[in-house]
């Protein structure tokens, strides 16, 4: 199977502190890949380096066979991104940010349909800052989907969502995967990873602790579920 994302030997330091250390990973097309780690493990820096919003010190990155720093315009027609922060101009209404984002792409989706599917249609004229956490998160996913991308990056997508909203987001991601979208997500919810991800990688202080399928990680750590595996990995490494 072809790879949608390939990273090899990625290293990034800030002021002498190594945020990501020799990270390598491959994400197969049409799969969901999870990047795990505690807060500050280097997940967001990894995403930044993969997307080219930060320049890695060393290492190679390709997304859909392109160098993200060199082929920005063509690539981001096919790659959707949701960052941890909700980065919108203050005071913008949901409808306005949807229209603006819609105008960025050559083949955008019908956002009103998706808004309806998310149960957000009645909130169109509400300011983004006045939405609830769950509503805002769903909006961010919708915006990442806007260009009908082949690859989607989602940084901490369900943080701050109630269990019901999280299930809803999972269903959306599974549907996306069925239509042939590759998903790269970061998370610190282990049940999420267990349910969604085909493959995962656990990061600690910028180092790869383990990677593989959920079964492989469980077998390798001798644990029954990802919660245990994660704790085993993080604490085992300390001892």
């Amino acid at each position: 199977m072809e790879n949608a994302i390939e990273v090899s030997g990625l290293t990034k330091s800030f002021d002498g502190h190594t945020a990501v250390n020799h990270l390598s990973l491959k994400v197969k097309k049409d799969t969901i890949f999870g990047l795990l780690g505690h807060n500050g493990a280097g997940k967001s820096t990894t995403i930044d380096c993969i997307l080219g919003t930060q320049k890695p010190d060393t290492g190679e990155v390709t997304i859909l066979g392109c160098d993200p720093a060199a082929n920005r315009k063509q690539l981001f027609e096919k790659v959707g991104v949701q960052f941890q922060e909700n980065a919108f101009q203050k005071g913008l209404k949901m409808k306005e940010i949807c229209e603006i984002t819609h105008s960025l792409y050559k083949h955008p989706m019908n956002w009103r349909e998706q808004l309806q599917a998310f149960g957000l249609s009645h909130r169109e004229k509400v300011k983004v800052t006045e939405l609830s956490g769950g509503e805002r998160q769903k909006l961010c996913i919708l915006l990442a989907m806007m260009g009908q991308p082949e690859v989607i990056f989602l940084d901490e997508l369900t943080t701050g969502l109630d269990p019901l909203a999280r299930r809803e987001v999972w269903r959306t991601l599974e549907k996306l995967k069925e239509t042939g979208v590759t998903i790269f997500l970061t998370s610190h919810f282990m049940d999420e990873v267990e349910n969604l991800c085909d493959e995962l990688l656990v990061l600690k202080n910028g180092q790869t602790l383990v990677s593989g399928t959920v079964q492989e990680v469980l077998a390798c750590t001798g644990t029954k579920n990802m919660d245990e595996a994660f704790i085993h990995l993080i604490e085992g490494d300390v001892q």
């Binding site: 981001f76 790659v79 919108f88 229209e99 603006i100």
Partner: protein
């Protein structure tokens, strides 16, 4: 192009939702012109007041709105978000600058309307020259705003720098208190403000007294060019 238009419209809507640019850039100069019109005893004085008050709008957008918005867009990672889309975040920057220019020019036209229809001002100089001069002053002041946006590390610092530049220029450059009534030592101090030269230029054009404007003209052109170069060199998207 469609994106630019949507962003431009959004910037206008946002400014009316937030109101501070509208108050400082549109309402305040119109009210001030209405007040100063009452004290003007001749058509010359009306022309001078108009030329000075017409610059308040461009200061509000150039020294306040432009640096504050750009700093906020950087701090809130709005610019970064556009970096992972097919368009350049530059389009958002252009949209905001275009909004600033639109508001400045509307403000000047409103002040003109108050002077003309409220007090029967008869414009003495050449309207075309006045517009050209106005655009130059607008470009120079917005370049200063861009430098603040480029060099300031955070939104809060930008707020402080902007206020520290805006209020002295607003009060002392002759936009509110006429330059002519200031004591001579103050006159020589406030000459360091580019806006003082901007107002001098516009007053000269308004009265059709074009001699002795070369120095002000040079200051403004240099300010515009130098500030623009510095801000482009130091601008950070994140």
């Amino acid at each position: 192009m469609n994106t630019f238009w949507l962003l431009y419209k959004a910037e206008i809507k946002l400014s009316f939702r937030e109101m501070s640019s509208v108050i400082f850039g549109l309402i305040l100069p119109a009210v001030l012109m209405a007040l100063m019109g009452m004290f003007a005893y001749s058509n010359e004085e009306l022309n001078l007041s108009f030329a000075a008050i017409a610059t308040i709008g461009l200061c509000a957008t150039g020294l306040m709105s432009l640096p504050l918005s750009l700093s906020s867009y950087r701090e809130q990672k709005v610019l970064k978000r556009y970096k992972v889309t097919p368009i350049s975040p530059m389009i958002l920057l252009f949209a905001h600058v275009s909004y600033c220019f639109s508001l400045s020019i509307s403000s000047m036209l409103m002040v003109f309307a108050v002077a003309k229809f409220g007090y029967g001002m008869n414009f003495i100089g050449s309207p075309l020259k006045f517009i050209a001069g106005y655009l130059l002053v607008m470009a120079a002041i917005h370049s200063i705003g861009l430098i603040i946006a480029s060099l300031s590390p955070s939104e809060k610092t930008t707020g402080a720098i902007s206020s520290a530049l805006y209020f002295p220029m607003f009060l002392l450059s002759g936009a509110t208190i006429p330059f002519e009534i200031m004591p001579s030592f103050l006159q020589s101090i406030v000459k360091i403000f580019p806006l003082t030269h901007g107002i001098e230029l516009l007053k000269g054009i308004a009265l059709n007294q074009l001699a002795n404007l070369t120095f002000s003209l040079t200051v403004l052109i240099l300010t515009a060019i130098v500030c623009l170069i510095i801000s482009i060199k130091f601008f950070k998207w994140e």
